[in-house]
């Protein structure tokens, strides 16, 4: 369909290439137009961005339809030499396979909806067109990221989405927090990126310059990827390094700290970037590189993921900021995905990415809608708006149920798959029992905090009547995306079965399209018993969670204050987010600053004034021993440098010129006698 379309309109070009270039290029075009002339366009040019992303959306839908018809073996790739040096080539290329197409679908859909939503949400903003420019840029980078056929190209777009994220988080840069958050996001993810870059370096080094996914995999498959470093095989090490990139981007522990702060950005941005797409890029990367990871590396991934899942979930418990709760939930869910990938549930992990994209985007957009209506993010100031915003409430409810993993909703499908796989993984390797444990616990916690959110926001009495009075349902550009996304959160959309159990699908295996497209034909099925246990367990956990939430926040039979009082220590820890930020603050930033200051001081005092201006060795050793460069004595000793020594000696030397001629003569004669005496002695 796609190919014929392009053959019709652009007969001279390779249809697939031009389609891909167009898919990638449209948002870029939108960006360029918006950044340069957006302000002068009608309506600030929002139609440009929405239009361009719609084209991409349409193209990816067409592509998806093609894919469904051609089956999971579909793969199309093309590449160009980008950097061509003697004995060294770097290529740029496009790889289109089911994973790519699914990602494209997710990205463009969510993008399109969020763009649409933004028209309503951002309409009063003074930098309206710039906002759309950034959004377009993000979509471009994200599409590029999934289209890339090699690690290097992927890395490029990887950084670019980071840039887009930075720009959008600090979009309201007048707020110092927003500015701070943007910077934090960029830097923290960059730490991960550096790890990834090192991974790329290792791969590049080990494979003699192969960076293509396929060639790397075949290289690994042939067992040519040898080498060790500190007793760890380089392959594992490279895998972990690559995974580090994902840790940064997908906000996994310990680099998760940026994501909650990133909520300073506009809510649609949070929905698009920090819930649905960019943060999922890490998961995408792990999926993409899946064959590359050794079992050891996968274990690391699994542990990281599961720990992040439980860890973030606990943090979400106590937060009162609606977006922050969602942010921690995102972290937690990403952790689940990572866990899934780590335990080898390749399909399940990616599946959860797709479903999560829909319901989490929906959740964020709903939250945005609420915020838009109430002008606050604090749940304690909300309450009882169920009636005033029925669409929002309904869609959010659907998404919440999906997130909590309740049957009939998409979250149930994918999460259950992951949990089942992790359980069976743990059954095979009992020593790794913590992984599923964390997973199941986090499910319960998720249900708890999500329902807490719902109850606090939509039920009960309005806590701030002034805000409540102003509240109203959002315009259609905002609600439409909500509805579409909530529809996508239904299990039937993914499985063809209303309940969400794949086995009961209505339209054959193709209706379970994610699974159908991704499942490697040869993959062995895990014993279903594990799945069953998992099903029961997770449902129980979710049920418990909902129950507690209901009791505490709806019925208020259990007082949250009392519980907080009782578990004060834990509560405090949780509200302080485990003091992670404080730890970083103390451990990294503080010490880094001290190091900086020290070094700068070092530069001023020691290098400049001692080594260069100064006579070095004696003073250096004393200064390093004391370590305190502020020390007055050293200061006074060091200040004089070579320059000053020279000048001082100049000052001394000229004193021999006393003005007394007889002394001059004495010097001359003395020198003669001196030389003669010296000669007699020698």
């Amino acid at each position: 369909m796609l190919e014929s379309l392009f053959l019709k309109f652009l007969p001279s070009l390779d249809p697939m290439t031009s389609a891909m270039v167009m898919l990638l290029g449209m948002p870029l075009l939108g960006f360029v137009i918006q950044i340069f002339i957006g302000k002068r366009l009608f309506r600030g040019g929002d139609w440009v961005s929405v239009g361009t992303i719609f084209v991409s959306f349409a193209l990816s839908v067409l592509l998806f339809i093609d894919l469904l018809s051609s089956g999971p073996q579909f793969q199309w790739t093309t590449s160009w030499t980008w950097i061509d040096l003697p004995h060294f080539q770097l290529t740029m290329g496009i790889l289109v396979d089911p994973v790519t197409i699914l990602m494209l679908l997710v990205i463009t859909t969510v993008s399109f909806l969020v763009f649409l939503y933004s028209i309503g949400y951002m309409h009063e903003d003074p930098r309206y067109s710039r906002y759309f420019a950034y959004l377009s840029f993000f979509s471009f980078s994200m599409i590029g990221l999934v289209l890339a056929d090699n690690l290097f190209a992927l890395y490029i777009f990887w950084e670019l989405v980071g840039l887009a994220s930075y720009l959008l988080i600090s979009f309201w840069f007048e707020k110092p927090e927003a500015a701070e958050a943007g910077k934090k996001a960029f830097i923290v993810t960059r730490i991960g990126d550096v790890g990834m870059f090192i991974g790329i370096l290792i791969i590049f080094f080990e494979t003699n310059g192969l960076l293509h996914f396929d060639s790397i995999f075949s290289y690994v498959a042939k067992g040519q990827f040898g080498g060790e470093f500190l007793g760890i095989s380089l392959l594992t090490l490279a895998g972990i390094c690559i995974f580090l990139g994902a840790v940064g981007k997908s906000a996994q522990f310990p680099l998760h700290i940026w994501l909650p702060d990133a909520m300073e950005g506009p809510t649609p941005v949070s929905a698009l970037i920090h819930a649905a797409t960019m943060v999922a890029a890490g998961v995408y990367l792990v999926t993409r590189m899946f064959p590359f990871f050794t079992p050891e590396a996968r274990t690391v991934i699994a542990y990281t993921g599961s720990f992040t899942a439980i860890f973030a979930a606990t943090m979400a418990l106590t937060h009162n900021d609606i977006k922050k709760v969602l942010a921690y939930s995102t972290i937690s869910q990403l952790g689940i995905m990572m866990m899934g990938l780590g335990v080898g549930a390749y399909v399940a992990g990616f599946f959860h990415l797709v479903t999560h994209a829909a319901f989490k985007a929906c959740l964020f957009l709903c939250a945005g809608s609420v915020i838009h209506a109430l002008h606050t993010q604090d749940m304690r100031e909300m309450g009882g708006i169920r009636k005033k915003m029925p669409i929002t409430f309904t869609t959010m409810g659907v998404a919440t149920l999906a997130l909590s993993g309740i049957p009939f909703f998409s979250g149930f499908v994918s999460k259950d798959l992951i949990l089942g796989e992790s359980l069976s993984f743990a059954m095979e390797n009992p020593s790794h029992f913590l992984i599923p444990l964390f997973g199941f616990l986090s499910t319960g916690l998720t249900a708890f905090y999500m329902f807490r959110l719902i109850f606090m926001t939509f039920y009960g009495e309005p806590r701030d009547s002034k805000k409540f009075d102003h509240a109203h349902e959002s315009p259609w550009v905002m609600t439409l995306p909500l509805i579409i996304l909530s529809l996508c959160s239904l299990a039937i959309f993914f499985t063809g079965s209303p309940l969400g159990l794949g086995e009961l699908s209505l339209w054959g295996e193709k209706s379970q399209w994610v699974k159908y497209l991704l499942e490697p034909p040869s993959s062995s099925e895990h014993p279903t018993s594990a799945h069953l246990y998992a099903l029961i367990l997770s449902l129980t956990m979710a049920g418990c969670g909902i129950l507690f939430a209901y009791l505490i926040y709806y019925k208020q039979t259990l007082s949250s204050e009392k519980i907080a009082e009782k578990f004060k220590c834990i509560y405090k820890t949780l509200t302080h987010l485990y003091w992670i930020d404080e730890l970083y603050e103390w451990a990294v930033i503080h010490n880094l600053l001290r190091l900086n200051t020290l070094l700068a001081h070092f530069d001023n005092r020691v290098i400049d004034q001692v080594l260069v201006d100064g006579w070095a060795p004696i003073t250096i050793s004393t200064s390093t021993n004391s370590g305190d460069f502020d020390n007055r004595a050293i200061d006074q000793m060091l200040v004089d440098g070579t320059g000053k020594v020279v000048r001082a000696s100049g000052k001394e030397v000229r004193k021999i010129q006393t003005g007394k001629i007889q002394q001059y003569l004495l010097v001359g004669l003395g020198a003669v006698c001196g030389i003669l005496i010296l000669l007699t002695l020698v």
Partner: protein, 492 residues
Amino acid sequence: MESLSLNLALYSPEIILSITLGFVLIVQMISQSRLFTFLTALVGLMVSAGATLAIKSFSPQFFFANQLSHDPFSLFFKLFFIIATFFTFLFSYRSYEIDEERGAEFYLLTLAVTIGMCTLVASINLLTLYLSLELVSIVSYALAGFRKEHPASNEAAIKYLLYGAFASGTMLWGLSLLYGFTGSLNIYSINATLSTASLNPLALYSMVLMVLFGFGFKITSVPFHMWAPDVYHGAPTPTAAFFTVAPKAAGFAIFIRFFYSVFANNSGLPDQWITLPHVDWAFLMAILSAVTMTLGNLSALWQKNAKRMLAYSSIAHAGYMLMGFIVLSKEGLVSILFYLVVYFFMNFGAFFVVGLLANKTKNEDISGFKGLGWTSPLVAFSMAVFLFSLTGIPPFAGFIGKVYLFSALVQKEIYWLLVVAILNTVISLYYYTYIVREMFLVKPVNSDKALVLSPLHVFTLILLVIPTFIFGLYWEPLFKYVSNSLQFIVIP
């Protein structure tokens, strides 16, 4: 009597100078006009320079009963002195230190010094050597004290005289010992005897050192340099400029001729020398060279008086030039000669600018240079050129001079001295740029007026700046001329 006319012909530059000397007196008495006297002196110098060029065609020989040697070496220096004197006269014109009615006396004395220097570089006989050296010195004492009302000038004169007398006395004693040991006053005979006789090294060293006292005094080498800052400082600026250039060059010339003829022998290789056995004066001089440049530069760092600073700088430059002296090769000597030419333009130029400025401010303080670059760009620019050239920065001539000196050292692999020299170059930058800084980096006070320059001054300045440039960019002819001039040893 044919030989007498030949002798006179070969001595014609000096004779013309003596005639000019007389004419200057007469013209001054008759016309009472400074300008005429000035022109007379200049014309005399030009004729003398012409004569110097003319007698180049005579083959190298000894004349005046082996008292003097006619060779390219001496001709080069004669020309050098005549040109230096020429510039000194240009400099002195309208200088506030050489007042109007005493111009003729100034010319007369300076001409006498020039005659002495011209004879000095040609002399190969101890007596002529001593006599011409004393002619240079004694008249210089009078020149240093030329501003007789000025205590500084008096002081310069007495210091110069006392140091000079002491130095020449010591040297005289040394010369007498040489004479006593060899029984001859001719330097070649002395060398012949010295190189065959077996002398106690210590005795030889004593002679070398005593003679060195006299020569070191002239070239301002440490430790015989101490008079120089005071004398250059106190003497009238044109004279000081003259002193730092001409007598120093004369000192170098005779130093080279004497040491290379008396205390060294040809090593067998062309253009290479070796010192007399057991008397490694080259090494001694190398150390003195290092100390000289270092001391000169270090002392210059803190000077507040431009003239005094330049005086120290001229000591440092003597140290640089000594580097060429110690390598005992033609390359080294050529580099000294080359450097002298270059040094003349830049050092004289720097003094000239100081003098121009002093004509306005009546002193030579460096603070007087403040903002000069903004009020009188031409003068300041020239000064900057001279100073950078003195530092040894391309594309100015001073750099080329240094390159030749350094390359002489590299060829002989005397790297330690080279390192001292380059470090000194860096140090010297500091005080040279101090003046540049005052001129350009400091904005002038509103009341500062531009220097009033007569066309003659501008002309002189340009005449000094242009070679400083040209020889930095294209010095091939000069180098060829200089290396051809290095034939001073005529086998008797």
